[in-house]
Subunit: 534 residues, 2 copies
Amino acid sequence: MQLTGANLIAGADASDGSQRQAALDPWSNEELAVEFVGATHDEVDRALQAAARAMPSYNAAAPRARADLLRRMGDEILDLGDTLIERCCAETGLPAARIESERGRTVNQLRMFADLVEEGSWVDARIDTAAPDRQPLPKPDVRRMLRPLGPVVVFGASNFPLAFSAAGGDTASALAAGCAVVVKAHRSHPGTAELVARALGRAIAACNMDAGLFSLLHGPGAEVGHALVTHPLTRAVGFTGSAGGGRSLFDAAAARPDPIPVFAEMGSINPVFVLPGALRERADQIAAGLHQSVTLSVGQFCTNPGLVVGLESPELVSLRASTAELIEQTAPATMLNSGIRNSYERAIGSFGAQQGVALAARSEAEVAAGRTEAGAHLFATDAATYMGNAELGEEIFGPSTLLVASQSREELLEVANGLVGHLTATIHAADGELEEYADLIAVLESKVGRLLINGFPTGVEVCSAMTHGGPYPASTDTRFTSVGTAAIYRFARPVSYQGFPQMALPEALRDANPLGILRQVDSTYTREPVSTGA
Amino acid sequence: MQLTGANLIAGADASDGSQRQAALDPWSNEELAVEFVGATHDEVDRALQAAARAMPSYNAAAPRARADLLRRMGDEILDLGDTLIERCCAETGLPAARIESERGRTVNQLRMFADLVEEGSWVDARIDTAAPDRQPLPKPDVRRMLRPLGPVVVFGASNFPLAFSAAGGDTASALAAGCAVVVKAHRSHPGTAELVARALGRAIAACNMDAGLFSLLHGPGAEVGHALVTHPLTRAVGFTGSAGGGRSLFDAAAARPDPIPVFAEMGSINPVFVLPGALRERADQIAAGLHQSVTLSVGQFCTNPGLVVGLESPELVSLRASTAELIEQTAPATMLNSGIRNSYERAIGSFGAQQGVALAARSEAEVAAGRTEAGAHLFATDAATYMGNAELGEEIFGPSTLLVASQSREELLEVANGLVGHLTATIHAADGELEEYADLIAVLESKVGRLLINGFPTGVEVCSAMTHGGPYPASTDTRFTSVGTAAIYRFARPVSYQGFPQMALPEALRDANPLGILRQVDSTYTREPVSTGA
């Protein structure tokens, strides 16, 4: 399992480009083995041509075959064993336990989509039977189901080298929907991406499928990404990363002669509202949970809680003190790369310099800059200052949070009303307190994709009910999630078949219901065959 | 039921603007009664403020109340009686029978969405129950359902003064989803829009709902439309009309600080492929159906078939001759307005002047320009000419079609491969012939939202399996339909609720399933209550 640094296009190495870059180990800031070759425009084109060519045979295969492929991909990733864990740790500065757990999540995502595809009802099949005698006009036989959108471009995320990268949720859901995928590797972990891409390639070969289903391209700057998003064959884009990066892809896609959807999940501040009753009951417990959520994986989660809002009170002072103590004891830790660490340091410096903002606490131990380390930070301010300074509403990517004290219930609601879109919002409440704050829930519901009661937003459960997305700028399309089974709907579109003879219909729409899926037949949900067949 | 020409904002007349324009009767090109007042920017703002304020109480009401409102709206439209029919005929040049049938469709759409909302399962409720003992981390209780997106702006369409206008499919589906609606009336039928808007206002009042749920604004130019699309409170846009108009709204929405979705259905050429066996069996019957579909409502449908492709053969010559004869006998008829008629005349002139294109037939009777009339046209060319001239691929809005003869099966497939996105594609085939042309079906499936066998694309059935939309430029978002029950999904987004106590959850997500809807509980579809409640 030697790395080559080449792009992988439909199962073959390609390295025509002249741009080469090695990955850096953030623990030492030294170059890791192998230089990765930036893809040329011709290679971008070849990857997308191969993707488009691979789709018809992939979609002609039974759902079971697609499920088998996804499961095999998971197995091949596991078969990489410690090679993957070691390279991934070296490229990301994340500890082995975290990478192992992320590998588990990545494999589970592939299996979850395999189950979904095998069950089959996700295609939302609908059959309206004909009524030839209807007056004044006969009613035609119309059937519809979801079909794959076309080749999907996926951008790997720096903070999830496995679960949101080469074989992450975007890739898994796009393949599950029947789309071929071209991944742009994140330059922060290109070796991890290559290892995973080769594992996917082996799975495709083992399942006798078209190698064009998956390609991986490198490219250190924005050029390869732009070429992928504007390529005529690209039909959709999945992205997890910064607001600036996501918006520039969105703009490029919207400016195409034929605009395509961009699903950019761009992070969020994930406000936490702590109600008075909860503070009275368990300020220390909330402080402990908050601290853990803020500092988990050095704060490098898009669901990191960067804002905590409460009513000014002795209990809020106590929450602040308990949190401050925990922050001070937090050991500095290595961030993903020096770019992210430097941005964090700049943001911390700028935050602390704002009028009316106090640095309430920071990691006491010294930060080792040569190890790309960052310390934890707690800032504090009042609601009036917060609402009067837009910079305080911007995300700091890293282990930092801002505690905001409001003078009244009304002011707390004002803070909520002033929020832009976020992935999540959390309320900590005592028993019975939620009824009293129903207006707060209603406001927050309009601002986010996921609401939590008495929990913390990090740790996004991968399940069918998850929404990971939210109103802009949390994501560019709030109608979809990037985590959970519903993520598949980003990459499919409905197609209707009118007046089709049985044998020309896709299996999902045939009278006999050979796949046994749940369908709407004349607007009634059923798994039964259609009795009044054409 | 006297028209006032005022904008209707949350149930009240508003006419602060200085721009005034009367509607023209296309039968005579004379002005009809009442001048309509263009909305001011302040009025645009008031309409959207009222819309946003109206949503919480509307969504707090039971699904039954929403269904009652939609049904009452239909009843109020019917109660307008002949006043509506007469004004609508005068404004559109369409005959009373067509308007009566469109009124029926409009009312049925409202009732269909009432049924959908009352049944309730459309919210796609999903419940993943907690597993507190799961290792290494407890599994949280996560539940999700679809919630309304926010205020929706709808643009009335010139060619469907009822079914795609003030109370058309966009308005009905947005209201069904729980969104308030602001309609921009089409300047071609402002009186029809006012009558319908007042009917909706009466329904809202009768149901004791917030008047802000619906507003109607006039504006002869693009300014009011642009102000509506760029208003900060607008969350989505529905539009049916020209490619230029739809794209300009899409671009304005994509350039917002917070981009919003635009569902623009921009028309289409709706290619029809006539296979050799079908031609041998029933060329005359196909000619008759084609002629009817091309000339229905003076060709003013977005599903109008503007391209017919067959293999060069004596039978294709015979199809051409039969169609030509029917076209010649077609009486010229009044179009919607002189702008549309003049565009049609220009397009016809330009088409006929293209190298290698023959005018095969046109209405023999003389066209009365003073009555805004247009005659039917049949053009013919060969596949090589067609593929070599991009102008021949552009839509002519009106009663015209182009017959293309290809020299071989391969050339016919080339024509299909070269198509851009369309709403529909149709294949006429003899028994057994579809198997032989499976590749043609596969190509066309990737190009359209609806495929028809042995039918004609006009007459879009309003049902749960309909897809009215397609790859760009047929529509700006091919993942959605603007006709049928699935149109509701354009105006909703998923929200997840994690760790919520029962009483704080929306009814659709409570353990007991009080609404009796179909849900996914731990990934299994069921209407049963959740047994392991929180």
